[in-house]
Structures are given as C-alpha cells and as structure tokens.
C-alpha cells in the first residue's frame, strides 16, 4: 500500500452481501455437474452395496433383496478365501502405490529441475517426455507386454542375450517379477504427468529468489530445498494426493498388461473387485468392496490434508 492517508470510510454496505454470494455463484456450475454425474451415481452405488444385486435383479434394482451388511461381512471375513484374497490385494496395491508414487514424483521433479533453464532442444526433450502420456494406454501397455515376453521380448534380450546378467531367463509377466513389471509400466505412464504439473508449478517461482539464495551461498540442492520445494508446496500437496488416488485405483494397466487376469503377486484392487464381482454379476458385493475402499482412501486423504495444512496458512 502506498503511504497515503486512508480516510475512515464506512465499508460500502451494498456491495458486501453480493460479494459474499460471489463464491457460491462461481461454484454453481461445478456443483451442478458434480452432483448429477458423480455424486448421485456414487450414492446409488453405495445404496447397491446394501442389496443383493445379482443378474436376477438387474432389470429392477428396487426389487433386489436387502442384504444389510452381508456384503460387507463377506468382504471383511479374512478367514475365508474371499476376504483373504481381498486383504492380500489391498496390501499389494498399497505397496504398488507407494513405489509408483515415489518414483514418478522423483523422476518428475528431477526432469522439471533439469529442464528449468532454457537450452537448445528443451522443447523437444519436454515433448519426448510427454509422449508416453500422449500414447493410447491400450497400445503402449500391449507394447510393454511384448517387451516383457520371456523368450521374444526386448527386456530379456538385453539382459540375458546381450548383457549376460543372469543364467536363467526370468519371467516378467508371471511370478514375483510381475509386480515389478507392473510398477515399471505404471511409472513409465505416470511420471510424465508429474513432470508436467511440476514444471508448470515451477514457472511461478520468481527468478530473484534463486539469485538471492545463490548469493547467500546456497548450492543446487540447497536451492531446491529452500526455494523450489516451499514454493511448490500447494502444487505438490494436490499432486501427491491425486497421484496416490489414481495409482491406487489403477485398472487399465494391469488389465491390458496381464491379459484380463492378473497373477496374485500383482493383483491390484480395482481389478480384483472387478473380477470378483462385476464379471460375476455380483454388483452388491462389488459395491460393498468399493465402499470399503472409499472409506480407506477418504481417511488417508483427510489425514494427509490435515497434516500438510498445519503450518500453511493457505489451507
């Protein structure tokens, strides 16, 4: 504020009520769309979880017999095969998500930092990084499945035939390695997205902050730690949580990579729910498992947001 004397003027009363309504008007289109397309179907989905909705009642959902909490009991009974498999799938997915999130974010940040300063061909490099994001999932994941083939794939060709790193030709699409193949493919697909968001976020960091830090003697890592990361805080906060959610719910990649049925070591939860309920026309059970998943993710998200907001006044 310029150092002029502020006259004591009463606040313009007429404008205040209108200004307070403005945010609601701004939100209106989003709220209407979300309610109609997202929230109402979700609530219906939650409702289905309390019904025994199988193919018999598909035509008329309201005639499906009420199942109370039976669907939930079936899902949570860890002593039975179904519950045990669900728990196992949940743990696999958790491990998968943490790994993918970690690597995608690291690669994205590294690439964003490396391409921060303009150099010849920067546009080209940035575009190359984004090509995996542009390719249709179906085709690129099928390509990876060919690459991972034990006898004819490029991965084993390089590792075994050319580099002689092992004697036995390993399997990549079944067995324990299938988990790592899944992680690799998922990271390949999602790190460009992290790169894109972080690059955009880094553009709003003023250059003078870096210069000031450099003059104070900060090296590269210190600059990243004390200038880049704090400025990226709001972007990171959102990026990490949505990447977590999307990776946790990943369906298409394992579906295409493993040909519609995943090995147990790579049984991600979305696919598990799909195979064990929707494919078998058991929508009630599927909905119950999805609601349990929703509750878990909600708890994680709210917890994360609460923790990451402490200390930031932007919350």
């Amino acid at each position: 504020m310029v150092g002029t004397v502020q006259l004591d003027r009463p606040p313009p009363r007429k404008r205040r009520p209108r200004r307070e309504l403005l945010p609601y008007f701004l939100l209106l289109p989003a709220v209407v769309l979300e309610l109609l397309i997202h929230v109402v179907p979700m609530l219906v989905g939650v409702g289905i979880s309390f019904l025994r909705l199988t193919q018999f009642y598909l035509r008329n959902w309201s005639s499906a017999p009420a199942a109370g909490f039976d669907n939930y009991r079936l899902a949570l009974d860890f002593n039975q095969a179904a519950g045990e498999a669900l728990l196992h799938s949940f743990l696999v997915t958790l491990g998968f998500t943490v790994l993918v999130l970690g690597f995608s974010w690291m690669f994205g940040l590294a690439a964003a930092v490396f391409t921060q300063r303009s150099f010849r061909g920067r546009g080209l490099i940035r575009t190359v990084f984004l090509i995996p994001y542009a390719l249709p999932v179906f085709a690129s994941v099928i390509m990876w499945s060919f690459m991972f083939q034990r006898d004819t794939g490029i991965v084993n060709h390089v590792l075994i035939d050319q580099l002689h790193l092992a004697d036995q030709r390993p399997f990549w699409l079944i067995g324990q390695n299938s988990f790592y193949s899944l992680v690799i493919v998922e990271v390949w697909r999602s790190w460009p997205f992290a790169f894109l968001m972080l690059t955009a976020g880094m553009q709003s960091i003023p250059q003078d902050l870096y210069e000031a830090a450099a003059m104070d003697g900060a090296g590269v890592f210190a600059q990243i730690r004390w200038v880049t990361m704090p400025m990226l805080k709001s972007v990171n906060r959102v990026l990490l949580i949505v990447l977590f959610l999307w990776t946790f719910l990943e369906f298409t990649v394992p579906y295409v990579l493993f040909g519609k049925s995943a090995p147990e070591q790579a049984d991600l939860i979305s696919m598990h729910i799909y195979q064990n309920s929707f494919v078998t026309w058991n929508f009630g059970t599927g909905s119950a498992m999805s609601v349990l998943l929703l509750i878990f993710l909600l708890v994680v998200t709210v917890g994360y947001l609460a923790v990451s907001s402490r200390g930031s006044d932007n919350a």
Partner: protein
Amino acid sequence: MREPTWFSWTRRIGLTVLAVFAGLPIWVMVTSALKPLGDVQGDFRWFPTQLTVQPFFDMWHTIPLAEYFVNSIVVSTVASLASVGVALLAAYAVSRYRFHGRQTFSIVVLSTQMFPGILFLLPLFVIFVNLSQATGINLYQSRLGLIITYMTFTLPFAIWMLAGYLDSVPRELDEAAKVDGAGPLGAFVRVVIPVAMPGIVAVTIYAFMTSWGEVLFASVLTNESTRTLAVGLQGYATQNNVYWNQIMAASLTVSVPVVIGFLLLQRYLVAGLTAGSVK
C-alpha cells in the same frame, strides 16, 4: 550464476536416462508398426529385417479410424475447454475466498476420485436415459453425453490443481489490480490468469488427455458413429485375429497431432510472468 559442472553432467546424464526410458517402448512400437503381422510377436531385433508400410494403409479400413479420430478430437477438445472453464471459476472461489462449505465442497469433490469407475457406470447410464426421455436430448449415444461425463470427471482434479496454482500466485497481485480499479472478476481475469497460465495449460492438457484416453464410459455411451479412439482401437482385436501391427501404426498416427499440440503448448510453460510484477 552458472550452474556447477557436476550439476551440468548430472543433468545431461539424467535427461538421457529419462529420455531412453520414455523413448524405448516408442521405438519398439515404431518397428512393430512396420512389420508383417506374423513377425510382430516374433523374436526381437533392434532393426527388423522385413519391413512394410502396409499396416499404415490397412489400418484405415479395418476400423473406421478417421471417424473415431474426429469423434475423439471433438469430444476431448470441448470437454477439456469446458472443464477448465468451470474449474477456473470454482478454483478462484476456493483459492481466494473463505466461505462456508469450502472444506466440505473440496473434500466431496475430491472423494469422487476415490470410487472405481465401474461403479458409476450403470447408475450414470440410467440417469442419462431418464434425462434423455425427459428432455428429448439424446445423451446416451451421442457425443454430448460423453462430453458432459468427461467434463465432470476431470473437474475434481482440475479444481484442486488450479486452486493449488492460484494459491501460489501472491495475493498482492489481486490487490494491486483492485487498487487500479478492477472488480474482483476483472482482477482475476486480467492479472491472475495470465500469471497462472502455465498451470492452466497443464490442467487443460490433463483434461484433454483424460478424455482422449477414457475407455470404460466411452464403450457404453457411444454407438458406431460416435465411438472414440480409445474404444475404437480395440476393434483391431477381432474374432479371428489381432492386428498388432495396425494397432501400433494407428496409435502412433493418432498421437502425432497430440504430440504436435504438446510441442506448441509447451512454450506456455515458461517462467517470467511473475518476475518483477510484485514491485
């Protein structure tokens, strides 16, 4: 200040490694697109011996690729622009105002990302059918229904991300614009948006790519004439055979415009729009 040498080298090596990681499968796709069908699943060679461009011709006939391509472009473009438009308004409200229900709105919107898509599918279809019968606008076999669906799907992330980008635009800019006499929306549009442009571009790309690649809802909400690429590409897997080479050829071809779009758009991912503006 010039960057230290060790960092230069780390940078070059890091970029090369990442470029190889990103590019290797693309190279394999390119060679597969140029092979006769029997060789695609054959032994791997870095440079295959038998090459043919036939797949690039056949692919237009096995499925109506051109039609699917147009559908995808229309649906994705409109859905992404509409989504970013709506999201910007909402993000501005969330970022700049403290109003009742702000937290609830944010969490509810984010919670839509926690539900597997398959669960929405049937209820949404029923809603669309009922709406179509009530209003007479065909929603469940048309591009419009798909556009509305995609627009809504990308809203949560778009709102959250844009709010995040807007949060990192200092309030002083809004104040400065208001001092100059602009109203709140004027300040938003004239000053804040240009500064947040990299974020806006990034989110638009996200919205476009999400619509471009969505399969599940497109498979149910479209018929032959409105089908999009993501679904249509699976048409190369026929009853008798799967035309792997044509799949690769088609995927590469339809990605070319998208990649060119990236190339053109990435010049908006530049710094300096804030530099020196807070004086």
